[in-house]
């Protein structure tokens, strides 16, 4: 076969695990629903690991010529494929981060992952998108800084803002904090 016999990457295992859910009540609900309606439990899995159907459909429709339709099953399968793609890319990207002895996945890790996954054709458009994203983030940041300055005319506050914004660690901590909070909610 095209893959090593029996070798299942981490992300497939966690994809399957994610599908069946980790919480008792949830699993019961999924099992009941799965028994009631034939299709895979995947269809009833709460939105956590799914991408919004409407957006997926729109992307598909725009990629295809006018007048071409897509069956619900095909759309649903593409949506699942996209989720699997993200999981696989994450896993690959994480390997690059670990190689670089970093704990935080960054954009270049993801780009390296694309090459490793043989999606080199994505790299250029992704780099362009990244540049646009950075410009936009910078614009937002400057706008919010401006607002802060306008609101608070004290010199002390200005100096505080500057040092805070230059500190990248803050953002990572905030992200981490967010993630910790989310972990509590989810589990």
């Amino acid at each position: 076969g095209r893959r090593g016999a029996g070798r299942k990457p981490v992300w497939i295992r966690l994809w399957r695990r994610g599908k069946s859910g980790r919480r008792g009540g949830l699993r019961k609900r999924l099992e009941t629903e799965a028994r009631a309606s034939a299709p895979s439990a995947m269809a009833e899995r709460p939105e956590d690991l799914n991408l919004p159907n409407a957006v997926i459909t729109r992307i598909i429709k725009e990629a295809l010529p006018d007048g071409v339709n897509i069956s619900k099953e095909a759309r649903s399968a593409i949506s699942r494929a996209a989720s699997v793609f993200v999981l696989y890319a994450t896993s690959c990207a994480n390997n690059f981060a670990m190689k670089g002895k970093r704990k935080t996945l960054n954009a270049s890790d993801v780009l390296s992952a694309m090459e490793e996954m043989e999606f080199q054709r994505f790299v250029t458009p992704l780099k362009e998108a990244l540049e646009a994203y950075r410009r936009e983030q910078k614009g937002k940041k400057e706008a919010s800084e401006q607002k802060k300055k306008d609101k608070d005319k004290k010199t002390d506050a200005e100096e505080q803002d500057k040092s805070r914004d230059e500190d990248n660690e803050e953002d990572e901590e905030r992200l981490e904090e967010e993630e910790q909070n989310e972990e509590e909610e989810v589990d």
Binding site: V10, L14, G18, L49, N50, L51, P52, N53, A54, V55, I59, I60, L64, V68, I70, S71, A74, A77, I78, R80, A81, A82, V84, F85, V86, A89, T90, S91, A93, N94, R102, T104, L105, N106, A107, V110, F119, F122, L126, E128, A129, L130, A132, Y133, R135, E136, Q137, K141, E145, D167, N168, E170, D171, E172, L175, E176, E178, E179, E182, E183
Partner: protein, 114 residues
Amino acid sequence: MAAAGSGTPLEEEGPSGEAAAPQPQAPTSAPGARLSRLPLARVKALVKADPDVTLAGQEAIFILARAAELFVETIAKDAYCCAQQGKRKTLQRRDLDNAIEAVDEFAFLEGTLD
């Protein structure tokens, strides 16, 4: 290289409507470099599902979202080539299966869609 500093925390933590079409995250700042339509919160949830991942920067999440979009476009187009051969105007599940089997880059999907 740490994630580029940004004053704003990750957006889209709020309601990312499942049923309704979510609004695009941000206006396009440059023509042709359209920013992601997929809600970053969902992509972030997928990333966090991986137990080996400690942290992911905002940029990484964004790039993954954009890559997933490109992936959807790519696989839809490849599947459509199969449907065209059958002269059908509706993409079916089997077109997708055929594309996955035919295209090497889609090998990672084998066994994951059922």
